[in-house]
């Protein structure tokens, strides 16, 4: 990716990277710019509602999600507005209890993957030696596995434990984040302020943290948004396969798997978690799209024709 990744040179140049700004400051500026975009506003609103349901919802559940309150696949009634599931639990109560796992697992796995990928990518770009090549070739190896296959391989061997799935999803994202971080960092490592820090004898790790990291905040924030969307799909998908969250725990992906057999008699058992997952991913992805626009929109006022 030598000199060719200059799709938005004007944007970066206009924002002339100043060595002094911190990552936090950059993130704040970008965040505020993103908040003015309608997509971010809608996306954040949807995300907030879904996260609220996932974490506060359980306290409003009409029944105990583990209590058998009726026959299997019962139709909706006044006390059970979404009917009952494959064993006779209240679908609404299970639904309210089943969002927490997918939300925290997605978030933590992306944070871990982002951190690991950033370290690898920045180190590779800044090393300017064989380490770069070695790191990038090892990311090739992980990238050759489709994400879900990587996760399934290790889950089948070590068992369906939530923390294992979080680590595996993080491991699946790390190489992809590393490539993005490396590409962005390569544009920075040659800049004068990095050289001046080197001349001054600033330690390498400090240059990476203080000089390089703040200037690649934009692409990393975009990565964060997109990866959360994909993590929700991946983690819910693994539970849907039966290889993730195990019963009796409540989980949206698992609910779909359990209630699939009754999809004709009692579609709510499937439709409700399906809608929840869809809304969560739509909300997160719209926010990510707004962030992307804020980052890409950079110094430009309008789209140059």
């Amino acid at each position: 990716m030598s000199t060719v990744t200059t799709t938005t040179p004007t944007a970066t140049a206009a924002e002339a990277p100043a060595a002094a700004v911190s990552s936090n400051h950059r993130a704040n500026v970008l965040g505020r710019r993103a908040l003015r975009i309608r997509q971010t506003q809608i996306g954040l609103a949807i995300t907030a509602v879904m996260v609220f349901i996932a974490f506060v919802g359980p306290y409003f559940a009409p029944h105990d999600p583990h209590a058998l309150v009726g026959l299997a696949f019962g139709k909706p009634s006044s006390s059970m507005p979404l009917g009952t599931d494959y064993l006779g639990h209240d679908v609404l109560s299970v639904l309210l209890a089943g969002g927490r796992t997918v939300v925290w697992m997605s978030l933590v796995s992306v944070l871990l993957g982002l951190a690991a990928g950033t370290v690898i990518g920045v180190a590779a770009a800044y090393s300017r030696s064989w380490i770069d090549g070695a790191l990038m070739r090892s990311t090739d190896v992980v990238l050759a596995f489709p994400n879900i296959v990587l996760v399934l391989l290790f889950v089948s061997l070590l068992g369906p434990k939530p923390w294992l799935i979080v680590l595996l999803v993080a491991a699946a994202w790390a190489p992809q984040v590393a490539r993005v971080a490396r590409g962005a960092a390569l544009e920075i490592v040659g800049k004068e302020f990095v050289e001046s820090s080197e001349v001054l004898g600033v330690p390498q790790w400090r240059i990476m943290v203080r000089d390089i990291l703040p200037n690649i905040t934009g692409p990393l924030m975009v990565e964060f948004g997109i990866r959360v969307t994909w993590s929700v799909g991946l983690i819910a998908g693994i539970s849907f396969l039966g290889a993730g969250i195990q019963p009796p725990a409540a989980d949206w992906g698992l609910m779909i798997n359990q209630n699939r057999a009754g999809i004709v008699q009692q579609p709510w058992g499937v439709l409700a978690p399906v809608l929840c997952i869809a809304l969560l991913t739509i909300g997160v992805n719209m926010t990510a799209e707004g962030l992307t626009r804020a980052v890409a929109g950079g110094g430009r006022k309008e789209d140059p024709r």
Partner: protein, 344 residues
């Protein structure tokens, strides 16, 4: 749509220019090196799979057989996997088997893994190639139309719809299609494929509709963005301005002058799609009970069928590497600039 998200989904397939090699190498030298790295990556993947399945701490035999296994069962299994030998010897033996496509017998189906997979490969190929054959032209058309109507209502409408479609996980899209077309609202297509083992999926076209539609809906939002971006880049170039200034009808400019040049990313696009679909079919085949490789993998995972898991994982990784090399080759072949750079 901002270009970042497009390049982002492309992360696995770098742009052709990033694959530039130092001047002085021939196309053949480049190709040889590309093939060599491909083989090296595949070897590393294989080693990783070996480490995961055989060398990882933990007793493989109890993982496979469960804690209720009899000593005889465990001994038989250890012999089958060669678990009683030193690790290095196991590794060499295992590599030798893998290179000759000998994955042993399935622990569940009690038949050779190659035979089990052989039946499934055809079905997955049908599913994937149908999805690609529909997605590519459709995405190109959508990309062309939205690029030509840039920032008009059509463009905005399509971009909103594709943003929403791209957000929703594939299997959730598939379930929505099932709920809509197979169970509650309409009863047009079967919700679950009932293709007998050994039967080709092509002889059951109605059972292909929903799985293919799901995969198409998953791929088209990304691909059409890709085509829109490449079309816009072409439309902004000088030769198109010249063509417009000559007074050529805009339809001619669009279809004759611009479209062919916007097609080059189709190659990388196709590779990207194929690579994406490798992972995509796992959940979709499971969802529709479609007898392909993806469903075989999830069955093997649930049944802890290690030989089958090993074989399918290696097959997926190998296919991914091959798709990428083919895409690079085709891109170099189609882009005169890259060809010249390689020669000079």
């Amino acid at each position: 749509m901002a270009s970042e998200s497009v390049t982002n989904t492309m992360a696995a397939v770098p742009s052709p220019s990033s694959r530039r090699v130092a001047a002085g190498t021939s196309v053949w030298g480049w190709l040889a090196r590309r093939l060599l790295t491909g083989v090296a990556v595949l070897w590393a993947v294989g080693t990783l799979v070996f480490i995961a399945t055989q060398a990882l701490p933990g007793d493989t035999s109890t993982i496979v057989l469960g804690s209720t296994a009899t000593p005889q069962q465990i001994a038989a299994l250890q012999q089958q996997f060669g678990l009683d030998r030193p690790l290095l010897e196991q590794y060499v033996l295992w590599l030798g088997h893998v290179v000759t496509f000998d994955f042993g017998d399935s622990l569940v189906a009690r038949e050779p893994v190659t035979q089990l997979i052989g039946q499934r490969i055809g079905n997955s190929l049908v599913l994937v190639s149908l999805s690609v054959l529909i997605s590519l032209p459709l995405s190109f058309l959508v990309g062309l139309l939205t690029a030509a109507r840039r920032d008009r209502p059509l463009d905005h409408g399509v971009s909103t719809v594709s943003l929403v479609l791209a957000s929703i996980p594939d299997f959730v899209k598939g379930l929505l299609l099932v709920l809509l077309f197979a169970t509650t609202v309409f009863h047009v297509f079967p919700a679950v494929s009932l293709i007998p083992a050994g039967d080709s999926a092509l002889s059951h076209p109605d059972e292909l509709v929903l799985p293919v539609a799901t995969l198409v809906l998953s791929v088209v939002p990304y691909l059409s963005r890709l085509f829109r971006a490449s079309m816009i880049e072409v439309l902004d170039s000088e030769y198109i301005q010249v063509a417009r200034l000559k007074g050529l009808p805009s339809r001619t400019v669009l279809l004759r002058h611009a479209a062919p040049n916007a097609l080059v990313p189709a190659v990388q696009g196709a590779a990207l799609t194929l690579a994406y679909l490798l992972g995509g079919i796992v959940l979709i085949e499971f969802l529709f009970g479609f007898p392909g490789l993806g469903a075989a993998l999830s069955e093997a995972v649930n049944g802890r069928d290690l030989p089958v898991i090993q074989a399918i994982v290696l097959l997926f990784a190998g296919a991914y590497i091959v798709f990428n090399i083919l895409a690079d080759l085709a891109t170099v072949y189609l882009t005169p600039r890259l060809r010249t750079e390689l020669r000079s």
